[in-house]
Amino acid sequence: MRRGWRALRRGAVRAGAETSEAVRIAVQALAGARLRSFLTTLGIVIGVMTVIAIVAIIQGLNRSFEAQIGNLGAHTLYVSKFKWFNTSDEWWEMRNRRNLGRPELQAVEREAASAVAVAPMAQLRGTIVRADKEAPFILVIGTTARYLDTNGVQIAHGRFLSDVDEGLSRSSIVLGADVTDRLFPGFRPEEIVGRKVTVEERPFTVVGLVARRGRMLGLNMDTNVMVPYSTFLRDLGSKRSITIAVATEPGKLEALEDELVGILRRVRHVPPGKKDDFAVNKQDQMIRMYEQLTGALYGVAIGVGLITLVVGGIGIMNIMLVSVTERTREIGVRRALGARRRTILLQFLVESSVVAALGGAAGTALGLGVAQLVAALTPLAAAVTPSAVGLGLGFSAAVGLIFGSWPAWRAARLDPVEALRYE
């Protein structure tokens, strides 16, 4: 019993000593051939760098996308003539659909049991003017007080549109942050509320300012202005199809979607068996679209990374074969002094993994650098998660193990007599 324990302990010490010896030898061998080690690892460095940089950028995109998508209101459906992300064929078909207007809005307001807020959104691009200042191509949205709940808008100053504005068709207007900057440069917010602007040459009074929202998918959310829906219809045109934003509670999104489809089909007299002549849009679609895009990007990044890693791995295998040949006599000596085959195997495996892991570490550092550079020089954000770094290091060490195993196996199979005699 005691003997067994001792043998076990000795075995453990031996394994530990051999491993630390193997690491020491590996580091020595690498330090002895710095240029060669550097060139060997270059493939791995580039591969890991590429993957880390691209993953960092994609994760950065994800993060800003997630922040932006919140702008839409997480539990809101958008009923419209158009489906988001359509093909051109579909677009022509949808263009010819009957417009959505008050009848649809009132039906939804009346009948959608799962809805907590319903807001119309009539839209047009127009020019807003104050004195000599002009803001062209601004998205003017005709809506109601419910818009606050459906679209997650925050008011920085003043107030949002009220039911009174809507009922009296008052010429009230709420400005987006960029529009405010454009029309009222250098003004304090409290000075702006109450001032007059014109929208398509009709006068409006500013009642509130929207807090800055940022961009979403390249779309500036701060160049919008909001006016009462009834005022929009009276002053800016009533012939446009509107979008109806319908907010619900978490978990009721699907029930709401079913309700809306039923209501809309009935109001618009869509015969059974015919396709909907309207679309119910939701964030999901945008997320799915986005995931498709970045998924493809991920695939390309990982493909490129894998190819480079394989190329790097072949480089490592090549150099390890050279190393084994060069050190044939050393292997013979080690065998003569009592090294077992698996000790030699371990030694060379450790060496190739160390080379690869060093390359992986360098590649990770460079990749992070590239990501930071991209973040600094372009609007893209870069975010690096520990998992990406772990992935880079793990992958490169695995490449070292896989591509180092054949050379290591060859080293271990050498006949000690032949190896000692090798010139």
Binding site: Q28, V333, R335, L337, G338, R340, P416
Partner: protein, 242 residues
């Protein structure tokens, strides 16, 4: 432990070269007791290198038996052979065979690494072995910073550090000038008087003559076995029955 340290009986080692069978060892038998200093002499091609490889457990015989320190070597698997080499045999090579990138101390520690000794014990024993061969001031030098004689001393320290039963030296003075070679021979003589068993493979009759006993090989057979001076003087032509 009773019985001889080394007992070889009817040892054959055949190689196939082309279509032909070369009998490098063709029925070799002898025994060596603990504490002996024996030279294996013979011209090149006589089979002495093959014999050294077999006795050093680097090679296995085609047939015949070989017992080293009570173990039936020809029956052992590769790992067991490696362990046996590590425990029982200290090699001294003609070309020293030191690891070039490692210090003298690290070279001497190597057999103890493979034995699984803790670092502190390895260090202490390696230092003692280097002191024993007079290299206490060269422990941290690399082989290329040492003279030929010093390198061979490092190699001898490495051979001794594991306290093996057998010191196996292959032409240990072959790459040294005569004065340095003489130093190394004197070191072997000293080790012999301290009780080490030494097997020295050489083609030099003068070196064999210094050994208390010599075994002469020719064409893979033992053709002489007796006091070193006599066997060395006998030359390759005369056959002295064992």
């Amino acid at each position: 432990m009773s019985g001889p340290l080394i007992a070889v009986e009817g040892l054959h080692r055949h190689y196939r070269v082309g279509g032909e069978i070369v009998r490098a060892l063709d029925g070799v038998s002898f025994a060596i007791a603990r504490g002996e200093w024996v030279a294996i002499v013979g011209q090149s091609g006589s089979g002495k290198s093959t014999l050294m490889n077999v006795i050093g457990c680097l090679d296995t015989p085609t047939s015949g038996s070989y017992r080293l320190a009570g173990a039936d070597v020809e029956k052992l698997a590769d790992d067991a052979l490696a362990d046996l080499r590590n425990r029982e045999i200290g090699f001294v090579f003609q070309t020293f065979q030191l690891l070039p990138r490692a210090s003298a101390l690290a070279n001497v520690e190597l057999p103890l690494v493979y034995r699984g000794l803790p670092r502190r014990e390895r260090r202490a024993r390696a230092e003692a072995a280097l002191r024993a061969v007079g290299l206490e001031n060269r422990m941290h030098h690399r082989p290329n910073e040492l003279s030929g004689g010093q390198r061979q001393r490092v190699a001898i320290a490495r051979a001794l550090v594991g306290d093996p039963s057998l010191l196996l030296a292959d032409e240990p003075t072959g790459n040294l000038d005569s004065a340095t070679g003489e130093e190394i021979v004197r070191l072997f003589a000293e080790l012999h008087t301290r009780g080490h068993t030494i097997l020295l493979v050489t083609h030099e009759p003068r070196l064999a003559a210094r050994c208390p006993r010599a075994i002469r090989l020719s064409d893979g057979r033992v053709v002489g076995d007796g006091p070193g001076a006599e066997v060395a003087a006998a030359g390759p032509a005369r056959v002295v029955p064992a």
